[in-house]
């Protein structure tokens, strides 16, 4: 059983950063700038001369994946210091569910942050509800395969796969102790993501978890739901009839609590749903309490938002303000991740979709009609 003190070490820095986000963000910026100063990209943008957020904003333009690609090609050729402060540990790919699939290098620090921040959602829930049994049981592994394709990087052949599977495999605590089945078993079924491929994976998960003490499922929300539907269709039982779930940790889509929540509960029982805002690029925020919002990891990432009234720090946004999220991490400075975020007040936020014209129009109409009442 993991000690409460260790669990508190996971969440306390986050809780502290929420009390004084400005201070936490300044510290993060200083740390990040030390890293950026080691890179050619950082040197070109005078990273070592920057002292505060406004000069950081003035010197570094925002950059998206397309803008990063020439630098990533250099990294692939073996010259990591062109943009990365550390050599890449491995490469991962995104699912491409919102456009093209992105392939990104990940470093040791990034992986550590993923483990550390990624554990916060479930750990915080366990501590908050004094329900340590959610950490003592098994977790359904509904991740994507971590081995999909190979590429040349620095003269070597490297194999990479989807980030969720890769992160799960690299996390010894999760993969060796808690996940059912282990990520290597998922990988052994192949790399496809067609319906048939997923059915193979779901069947493996089902069989591995049958008669086991399963307490949680963590992952991409539609995948969790698809698994539940598969089990019902193929085996005639809902997951709630087979396992006693204590919590579902859901990520990667909007409207988790209100659109997916009721449907998930039909299959998994009256189980709490904890929301996480995570992506290949990082584990950025998670649900703090029972409110249906997420609170950012101010102690690990540097958050800015491009609003209609200029760029602001995320923590400066007042309830109802919204815009396009810009995240600086140990990988990339001022990365335009392409997500839209809205402040709900007191460091609670809601990621309401991708930065697409239709999503923005929908949100504008929503604010126009209902913003008055919120």
């Amino acid at each position: 059983m993991i000690g409460v003190d260790i669990l508190k070490q996971i969440v306390n820095p986050w809780h502290e950063s929420l009390k004084n986000p400005a201070e936490a963000q300044q510290k993060v910026l200083e740390n990040l700038l030390e890293g950026y100063a080691k890179t050619l990209y950082g040197k070109n943008h005078s990273a070592n001369e920057i002292k505060d957020g406004s000069s950081f904003r003035a010197n570094f333009p925002t950059i998206n994946y397309v803008g990063l690609r020439p630098y990533l090609e250099e990294v692939k050729a073996g010259n990591h210091s062109v943009i990365l402060p550390e050599p890449p540990l491995c490469w991962v790919m995104t699912r491409g569910s919102t456009g093209m699939s992105k392939v990104l290098p990940v470093t040791k620090t990034h992986i550590e942050q993923i483990f550390w921040c990624g554990a916060r959602a479930i750990t915080n829930y366990a501590l908050r509800k004094n329900s340590m049994d959610v950490l003592a049981g098994k977790i359904l592994n509904l991740n994507f395969p971590s081995t999909v394709t190979t590429t040349d990087a620095g003269g070597q052949k490297i194999t990479y796969g989807y980030s969720s599977g890769t992160y799960a495999k690299l996390n010894p605590m999760l993969n060796q102790v808690s996940l059912l089945p282990r990520q290597e078993e998922i990988d052994a079924l192949g790399s496809g993501i067609s319906r048939l491929d997923w059915e193979k994976r779901f069947e493996l998960v089902y069989q591995s978890a049958l008669n086991q003490h399963v307490v949680a499922a963590i992952g991409v929300t539609p995948v969790i739901l698809s698994f539940a539907r598969y089990v019902k269709r193929r085996h005639g039982k809902k997951p709630k009839d087979l396992w006693n779930f204590k919590v579902l940790v859901c990520t990667s889509v909007r409207k988790i609590q209100f659109k997916y929540g009721p449907v998930l509960r039909k299959f998994f029982g009256e189980v709490p749903i904890v929301e996480m805002y995570s992506a290949t690029e990082g584990a950025f925020a998670q649900q703090l309490d029972d409110l249906p919002y997420v609170s950012p990891n101010y102690d690990a990432y540097y958050f800015e938002v491009e609003t209609g009234k200029g760029t602001k720090m995320l923590h400066e946004l007042k309830r109802g303000e919204w815009g396009r999220l810009i995240i600086s991490s140990c990988l990339f400075p001022r990365y335009d991740i392409g997500d839209m975020i809205e402040a709900m007040g007191k460091n609670y936020f809601r990621v309401f979709g991708r930065a697409k014209p239709l999503t923005i129009l929908e949100h504008r109409l929503y604010r126009l009609f209902f913003g008055w009442f919120l």
Binding site: P181, F369, F370, L374
Partner: protein, 132 residues
């Protein structure tokens, strides 16, 4: 009892994959696992269809599909507007009201529906966006 051809673990006939090593369990010498899965899925679907038909015959209530709870408001409002338009048209044709008075009357009703819709939406929005 069957055994996994790769790791030797015990498996039963119901299993498609070895629970220990994840290897696909060979069910026949010729049929591929994929074919086996799709055949099994077909059988299952037939079985479910048969069960559904039986339930309907017995008059048992069907399990409501989870998708039904999404997006019912739009068709409801659309249907309501159509009913009002139809009713107004009927009144006009039957001579109960003056044809020229239809348009403003129609606007008043639509305005009322919009206000009602916004009020309902606002209540729902408040519920979904609680104040921290």
């Amino acid at each position: 009892m069957l055994y996994c051809h790769k790791c030797g673990s015990e498996v039963n006939e119901e299993m498609t994959f070895c629970p220990k090593c994840g290897t696909a369990i060979k069910v026949t010498e010729t049929a591929s696992t994929e074919r086996y899965i799709s055949e099994k899925a077909e059988k299952q679907e037939k079985h479910e269809k048969h069960e559904k038909e039986e339930k309907m015959e017995k008059g048992e209530p069907q399990e409501k599909h989870e998708k039904q709870q999404f997006g019912v408001l739009g068709p409801l409002i659309g249907g309501f507007i159509l009913i009002i338009v139809g009713f107004m048209f009927y009144l006009a044709v039957s001579g109960a009201i003056n044809v020229r008075s239809i348009f403003p009357f129609f606007l008043i009703i639509i305005g009322g529906i919009v206000i009602l819709g916004v009020a309902i939406g606002a209540v729902m929005a408040r519920k979904k966006n609680p104040m921290p």
